[in-house]
């Protein structure tokens, strides 16, 4: 019994940390630009495939760099792709939320199809960053990779938290989310704030991609579930609130773990979705959110 509760707590904590990582990048973009970047899941996928290409001996043989370097590559791929998405597309359409919503989703669909073209629709495994497992002796099973993912996620989240709330740069990012015009009037360097936001969000997506891609699988459909999760977490936590995203990530992470334990994996996502709808109807701003201010 103790073992069951313990493993529930541990599994939940692991998965929740990764969920938080997935959601935060999405939160930032939504918060700062009012842009619902539905290509966020696509960026996660790019991170995973980026890692695959450089670390696996079966893709480009001479690359096959060590996984830890691959992690850096995945982060870079996510960041650059994200920035490219902004300057190449979103910048021109962000005045119209509907078009942006649609266009970024279409980008995700294109990325997914391109992934099929490049890597076929068969799922791939990734080289394990940290093989093996620990904790059997105390009756808890955790793979080393889960521990690495947990720690890395929290470090990334911590750094981001510090940056956003404790530095002038970070405060500018928050301020921009409230009023673009206000930010301009106070001399915020908008292009640089936006670039930073998209780069950071993309880097977090790339990082998350490696963890999801290894713990689950790397496939052309892997963009949708993280996107749905990010969406749900952000809305439950409250638009633009990093704290909210973390709390909601844990809420959803544990809820899913519980659902899977009690009802089986077929119901994994369903309850989160139901919770989401209830939260939206009862408190439309989410747990820590502010009312959605248009423009």
């Amino acid at each position: 019994m103790l073992g069951a509760i313990g493993s529930f707590l541990v599994t939940g904590a692991m998965i929740s940390a990764i969920y938080a990582l997935i959601a935060i990048g999405f939160t930032m973009i939504f918060g700062v630009g009012g842009v619902l970047n539905l290509a966020h899941g696509g960026l996660i996928m790019l991170g995973a495939y980026g890692f695959l290409v450089v670390t696996s001996s079966s893709t480009v043989e001479f690359l096959a760099i060590p996984p830890i370097a691959g992690l850096a590559v995945a982060i870079a791929v996510g960041a650059v792709a994200s920035y490219g998405l902004y300057v190449g597309l979103v910048e021109y359409i962000e005045d119209n939320p509907v078009i942006t919503f649609l266009a970024t989703l279409v980008v995700a669909l294109i990325l997914a199809e391109l992934a099929i073209v490049a890597f076929s629709s068969s799922p791939r495994g990734l080289v394990n960053l940290a093989p093996g497992s620990s904790g059997q002796s105390v009756g808890l099973r955790v793979t080393n990779l889960e521990i690495v993912a947990f720690v890395t996620s929290w470090v990334a989240i911590g750094l981001l938290w510090y940056y956003v709330t404790r530095t002038d740069d970070g405060r500018s990012i928050l301020a921009t989310s409230m009023s673009q015009r206000g930010a301009q009037l106070t001399g915020v360097d908008l292009p640089s704030v936006k670039a930073k936001t998209w780069l950071i969000a993309g880097a977090l997506a790339g990082l998350a991609g490696v963890f999801i891609g290894t713990l689950q699988q790397t496939s052309p459909t892997m963009w949708l579930d993280p996107l749905a999760l990010a969406f749900i977490i952000v809305v439950i936590g409250g638009i633009g609130s990093i704290k909210g995203s973390i709390v909601a990530a844990y809420l959803i992470g544990y809820l899913e773990t519980l659902t899977v334990t009690l009802l089986g994996s077929g119901f994994r996502g369903t309850f989160s979705l139901v919770v989401l709808v209830i939260v939206l109807l009862v408190m439309p701003q989410g747990l820590f959110g502010r009312e959605w201010v248009h423009e």
Binding site: L36, L89, Y92, I93, N96, P97, V98, I99, F101, L102, A103, L105, V106, V107, L109, I110, E113, L114, I116, V117, L224, A228, F231, I232, V235, G266, F267, G269, T270, L273, V274, L276, V277, L280, L281, P284, W292, H294
Partner: protein
């Protein structure tokens, strides 16, 4: 606007005849616009003739499929395009109807006639529409879109969770349409009959939705999109009208869903509930031109013909890359829609004062 038409006065006089009789019902047209409409209608009605002359029997199947999607795109338009409450989960409505048909056939009685399953399924779409609309219409902007997006995901997952009833990923068989009409046996086994079984409902729905869209109701829906508070200040119950728009949308969505189920002969989450399907519906409406009813029809035919007939040269996966890229380009460079553009070009060339297609 000055009269500088060279295209011949006779066209104009026909158009005027139409305008006098029906202009106030469906919107006024000028000569070229009238010609475009009548021309398209003739091309569609005569499709079995010219496709068989051209030896392009497959094209007839594609046009039948496009007719169904045109219904879905129009249905989305009357709700999302007009009210500005953008639904990202409309496939749930058509999918709900399709699954209702499939489950009736699979779990109630495989021999239930089409004339029984179809109305029940359309009703199911209406119920699902209201279940989604009533709570979610309290929310605005991206939140509404989000809830509809999520509703789509929920339904998608439920088909897996309840695979015992729904057939899970692999779906369920539906079979063909067979019913008697005025003593004649109508069956979609025959490609030509099937085409008309898809085309005629599309035309009927188009006329009905145009009529509504050009009426007070359409004006109020557009006004809700532009400024909901102003509409409430006018003494109009916006909630009632928003729900009404869902009703107007759910019914044709249900019809489209049922037709699509019979067209494919089976239902599965991929073809009916996956987010891609909702996005396809939106893409058609946006490519054609939102909030114009006619635009989405054009968008649907364009997208389906591209998807099924043209982009196939890029391969099974490549055609999707190509199709989504086309959609993306339209979104960025012609966000008002291609057919609306065309319509306005014709409007400017002709005499009448544009087509007030809003």
């Amino acid at each position: 606007m000055s009269s500088d038409t060279q295209t011949g006065g006779s066209l104009e006089s026909v158009a005027d005849g139409y305008n006098d009789r029906f202009g106030h019902l469906f919107g006024e047209l000028n000569g070229p616009q009238f010609a475009l409409l009548i021309g398209s209608l003739v091309v569609l009605l005569a499709a079995p003739v010219w496709t068989s002359l051209l030896g392009a029997g497959g094209l007839l199947r594609t046009l039948a499929l496009a007719s169904i999607w045109a219904i879905l795109a129009m249905a989305w338009d009357i709700q999302s395009g007009y009210t500005g409450y953008i639904s990202f989960g409309h496939a749930v409505l058509s999918g709900g109807a399709a699954y209702t048909t499939a489950m009736l056939v699979a779990h109630v009685n495989p021999d239930l006639p089409f004339l029984v399953t179809a109305p029940i399924s359309v009703f199911a779409a209406l119920v699902i529409g209201l279940v989604i609309a009533i709570p979610s219409l309290r929310l605005r902007g991206p939140y509404f879109s989000l809830v509809t997006f999520v509703a789509g995901l929920i339904f998608y997952q439920l088909t897996y969770a309840f695979s015992g009833y729904t057939g899970g990923e692999l779906g369920q068989r539906v079979g063909r349409i067979e019913f008697e009409l005025a003593g004649a046996q109508v069956t979609t086994f025959d490609p030509v009959t099937r085409y008309y079984v898809m085309l005629v409902p599309m035309l009927v729905i188009a006329v009905a939705l145009l009529y509504v869209a050009r009426s007070n109701v359409g004006m109020i829906l557009i006004a809700i999109r532009e400024n909901e508070e102003a509409v409430a200040a006018a003494g109009i119950d916006t909630t009632k009208f928003k729900i009404w728009s869902f009703v107007l949308s759910s019914i044709p969505m249900g019809v489209g869903g049922v037709l699509l189920a019979h067209f494919y002969g089976s239902v599965n989450p991929l073809n009916f509930l996956l987010v891609d399907r909702s996005i396809e519906i939106i893409a058609m409406a946006v490519v054609g031109g939102m909030s114009s009813i006619l635009g989405p029809i054009g968008g649907a035919f364009l997208v389906i013909v591209l998807r099924e007939e043209v982009l196939g040269v890029f391969g099974v996966t490549g055609r999707w890359v190509a199709l989504w890229t086309v959609v993306l380009l339209v979104l960025v460079f012609a966000r008002d829609g291609l057919f609306r553009k065309l319509w306005h070009i014709l409007g400017d060339r002709g005499r009448a004062d544009g087509g007030d297609d809003e």
